[in-house]
Symmetry: C3
Subunit: 337 residues, 3 copies
């Protein structure tokens, strides 16, 4: 709970109206309730927000005679982001509600204010930190550790021995710690290599929906602190992702690859197994990274090139295409070998 | 329930045998029960269908002395499709069976003949329309609306505030309304942008298994009426998909992109964020659409070109490859800059 | 249970210490318990394994005065793989533990030692073979058959009529038997083609997490014996995969494609619908296979070429790029058409 005046101090901006009103949440005007901040990006939004149940409207516009208290801000997205993150600190996901249909092993240890949704299953010796929420139908394996203030949406699966840090967010359908893809052919048959390591997800990581982080073969797959991973992403066994890495949807990182800090990857990128990528690298969408990459590179294409080279190649191919007839004549006339 | 004679009128075709038999379903001969229509594409199929429990066999073949009533049709796939869709009208998914293990919030409102599978979880203020079925282990969030005659297979997750229309089909593992991938870097840290919008899925949409439709950031992600989406597809926050769009497996549409009506996309296509695609566009498999596309285009490749150009480029590259030795000599002999 | 001496005979290697100790499992030193084999790949590993609860340490190193019994082996990965597979034979996944919260249809038939996890749902007429384990929150449809000694991790969904063989492993989030992506446009509308076939998964198949194997339209989708499939892989309706096929993550096989025996596919590969691929073919990551491929080929790129040609093309493009200025001048000077 904070007043609009206090929020104005936090996010910057000018209060127009009653700044003493207490705020407890934030929501789009369609879903807002009393005590919520909402927002209006345009005139229509202002009208709809004005008729909503919200108690305060963020806007960049100049308003007069408005039915609700307004907080005029310079940058809506930033103001809402600052407010959201501050609220998350004050009201973490866990509320201390354990649904009676959840199946929690006797040896599991739950901290204070842990919430567990309906039909969730928590395995032997699992440890779940204070203020963490485990969604409905999640399955948490044996000896899993989850830190404080983390949030697992419904239908997340976490295999045995996984370690998840503080303030981690994992969306529905994501699978943490499944066996990596490892086989050895012997005597005309394909044998499964045991996958005996685990996954460690450091603090403040967010992972989207239906992604997969495989357990290490003999060691640990690591997702570094502050890294954010989108939906349908594959992180294979033994991968080490650095800190503050951003990985867009449907990207795949093959086994034992390492990725430095602050790397940004577009969607549908592929990184080959055992490849090492330095810090601050940017990888364009659909790029395939097949060999070692140093720091600060910008990559594009498959096989990949530096982005500036890839752009030149694209221009050159367009030039060749426009001159295709000339080139055919030229090649016909050139002496053979 | 309809007689074979009535079905013949509906789908076209000639009845050979007793047309008065009542039909109540359809199934492959291996799984057919009494009262089912089955089908035979070849001689072996005819023999197996003849020995099955089915009550009627669709075939294009000329049969005599056959142990079952036959409906001879011109186009099997079309005849079965017409019958299937007619049956779906008569026998919608919901049968009015609520499994006692389902957890349904007190404030949720279920229409007539709604079915809810074992261990499904339905949140506060959810509204589920007549004749809709929610599969086992589904999790339906708070304030979700689902229309009439829709079908959610087991293990579907629907986040809060999602709106799903009538006659929608969603397959297992699909996640509707997870947070979009939005962050802003401030002071050396990556902050999560709140994802406060929702997802609207219009009538007669089908979504395959393990796909993801993210909620809007501040507004709504829209899947237009009649659109069909395959497995493992990513639809990011704020995307607007038109009507009757077909999207094959593993395609990803990045944030805030808009796609017109009747667009067809192959598998593993990528569409960049904020890109607009017109109506009736065809996008070949694995194509990357990185900039605005007008109506009626056919695209291929990455970076994408019109398909005819992409084909020419492929031919030209093959020509260059065949003449690689000549080209090497030529380039060596050309005067430098 | 076997002694270390017996294990040494099985996997090869020299016992240093007490070979009479009974072994019952294997685990990484961080998670090992008494009676487990663990392993050490380096000096640090040896120290940590020495302090662990494990009863035996596999290593390639020469050790003296070590606190535990050591099995010195030549190839760690192979030794651990042989031991793992032998143990799997002796201690199959099913332990005969049925969680009371599981919902099992009255007409389902469970063999001996079948385990069923919490909140799993097993449909009418399902048949589950001896020693098979079905994980928590799995949903097994009507008339599904699962063989002996198979393992379904939590949150797997299996649609009606699926047939799964012996010693099959399926990881979390994977969906077997969802409807294929089939529609016919009629009178300005898109009609769903009924998907009435099923999926057959033969013995010793392993499928990773969040993958999709669609049911056949009118026939059967087949995953051949010994085939191994990674995470987030799409196998569309009517596909026939041969034996001992290896498919890496995020690859998609479109409808009605057939793949021969011993084929290896990298990650993010696409195979077009109705394409036939022969035996022993190797397909590089991100390759698109758009037409029939004979036996023993090695493919790369999109549109695909033989890998040797694709490599030459990449080299040629790099050469052209280095000579871009010369080429521009040349093309300008060449006579027009």
């Amino acid at each position: 709970m904070a007043t609009i005046d206090e929020i104005a101090k936090l996010v910057g901006g000018t209060v127009i109206g009653d700044g003493k009103i207490q705020i407890k949440g934030m929501a789009s005007f369609d879903f807002a309730e009393e005590g919520d901040v909402t927002f209006a990006f345009d005139e229509e939004g202002l009208q709809r927000a004005g008729k909503s149940k919200a108690s305060c409207v963020f806007t960049t516009a100049d308003v007069e005679d408005y039915p609700k208290t307004v907080l005029r801000v310079g940058d809506m997205k930033q103001a809402l982001t600052v407010l959201y993150n501050a609220m998350l600190e004050m009201t973490p996901p866990g509320k201390g509600v354990i649904h009676p249909s959840a199946v929690i092993a006797g040896s599991a240890v739950l901290g204070e204010n842990v919430s567990v949704g309906a039909h969730a299953v928590i395995g032997e010796e699992a440890r779940i930190g204070d203020n963490t929420a485990v969604g409905a139908n999640c399955v948490i394996g044996k000896n899993v550790t989850i830190g404080q203030g983390s949030f697992l949406a419904p239908n997340v699966t976490v295999y045995d021995n996984t370690v998840i840090g503080n303030k981690v967010i994992i969306h529905s359908g994501t699978v943490i710690g499944a066996d990596g893809f490892g086989y050895v052919p012997m005597e005309g048959k394909i044998y499964k290599v045991p996958q005996m390591g685990n996954v460690v997800i450091e603090d403040e990581v967010e992972i989207g929906a239906n992604s997969c982080m495989d357990r290490g073969t003999f060691a640990t797959t690591v997702i570094g602190r502050g890294t954010k991973i989108d939906n349908l992403v594959q992180v294979a066994h033994n991968v080490k992702l650095g800190r503050n890495v951003l990985i867009a949807a449907q990207t795949g990182i093959a086994g034992s690859a390492t990725v430095g800090d602050n790397v940004m990857m577009g969607g549908q990128v592929g990184v080959s197994d055992h490849v090492s990528i330095g810090n601050n690298v940017k990888v364009g969408a659909k790029t395939g990274v097949t060999s070692r990459v140093g720091d600060d590179k910008v990559l594009f294409g498959y096989p990949y090139r530096e982005a500036s080279e890839a752009r030149k190649l694209h221009g050159l191919l367009s030039l060749l295409l426009r001159n295709a007839s000339k080139i055919k004549v030229l090649l016909r006339e050139l002496p053979g070998e």
